[in-house]
């Protein structure tokens, strides 16, 4: 908690206390424990697989291009 009010019993003066997050009492977060995996519709799953396939393909092409530039496959260019 960032701030906490301190009320003096004898006066109406109020103080606000600011606490560093690392010094504060831990709060209960939203935990995924017990929720299992996120529900994904078939179209979302398909899109993710397509994206993964695209990344693997492009990654391999980039690697081939870089290795070609490095001269590893230079004999193929001739």
């Amino acid at each position: 908690m960032a701030t906490t009010m301190i009320k003096s019993p004898t006066t109406i003066q109020q103080s606000l206390q600011v606490v560093h997050p690392l010094d504060d009492i831990a709060e209960e977060k939203r935990s995924p424990e017990g929720l299992g995996q996120m529900h994904m519709s078939p179209s979302v799953k398909l899109s993710l697989y397509a994206l993964r396939g695209y990344l693997v393909l492009i990654g391999l092409m980039v690697a081939y291009r870089v290795l070609t530039l490095a001269g590893i496959f230079s004999h193929h260019l001739h």
Partner: protein
Amino acid sequence: MNTLESTPQEPLDPRNETQPVGITVRKPWQRNVLTFLLVVGPGLIVMAADNDAGAVSTYTQAGAQYGTHLLWLLILLLPTCYFIQEMVARLGIATGQGHAAMIYQRFGKWWGVFSLVDLLVLNFLTLVTEFAGVSLAASQMGLSPLLVVPLAALALMALVTTGSYRRWERITITLCLLNLTWLVLAFTSHPNGGEVLHNLVVPNIPGGGLTSGLIFTVIAIVGTTIAPWQLFFQQSTVADKKLRFADLKFARLDTFLGACLTITVAGCMMLIGDAAFRHHIPFSADTFDPATMAVSLGHIFGPWFKTGILLLMVDAAILGATAISLSSAYAYGEVRGWSHGLQKSVKDAPGFYGTYIACVALAAALVLVPRAPLQLIIVSVQVLAGVMLPSAIVFLQLLLNDRELLGAQFANKPWNNVVNWIIITVLFVLSLVLALQVITPTLFPK
């Protein structure tokens, strides 16, 4: 606790030693300012570290090649990087966990492994470019890279292994604030004010049209400004710092100010490149490096100008290296279930610190290997970052729509989704263009 507002607690009893010790203020505005000062850090650091050695190279090259013509692109990137990083800050505050942990838990091991491997490979290559930046700057200052690179690696290890998140954050924020020196250098390079203002607000294509070089530069700028490691780093540091629900508005401000800083500094780097452009310093895209440009500009503006750029290059590389290595260490530690976090000692979190140290040591060693293909690694990093970014943001977008976990308070609003899908579409199109260019290098005119 599920609310964003502070919930009244029992009044603090000063005699109770178990209650947190804070700073007492009297006015609400004092409380807000002080809370912001305590919360600021993850957003500022992730954005400042974004202007790493590769970014210095990309932005100065854009200026040296195209003058101020691409400044407008930075204005478009300001809201883009804010929207993306705000989402990870929100996710980190809501769950108290890092990004890699969330992907593993919500998408399963298969997707988790892919995301982690992508991140670790790209991070390591990026880390090599950071040490390449240190090596280049050291050489131009007349210092031996064989001495400076290991020293930089040792300094990076010492920076994180103190067992204090706060110490690491304070030192890193100081390094971030040194970035403001770029403004002084840009101002003293006497840019053309009218032209700068015009090119900031009017999107335009430099003379020569849509060439492969221009497309590559645009994609490199986008890939440099928004990188996958930033998502993992900021969420993990937000969780490590234990930011609270009530801190979200301050974390947003932290991220926004960081975005403003990074874009302003990026613009200054472009203006310094523009100085080389205006003074007709010979330019070659294949051999360009900012350290050599600094030497040429030193002949025009004085030796202090050269030294300033070279020192700022080292600062950029150190900032980038600590943030990138930490994002790898956090992600690997979260997935392996290791004890992790900068508040822990090396003894308490050996795997976390071991990953960090191994990344730094290996990257530094690779840079010192004679005839290592550094230029190829730098090019590969830019290409891979551009290609992988849309995929990383898709996972983020799905996580932020996980209402089962986040509830209505932290999940994306409809307008968030519209903005983010526009960003993802644009990034995906750019990634596709880049892929096409890699496959068919003659697709666009040279």
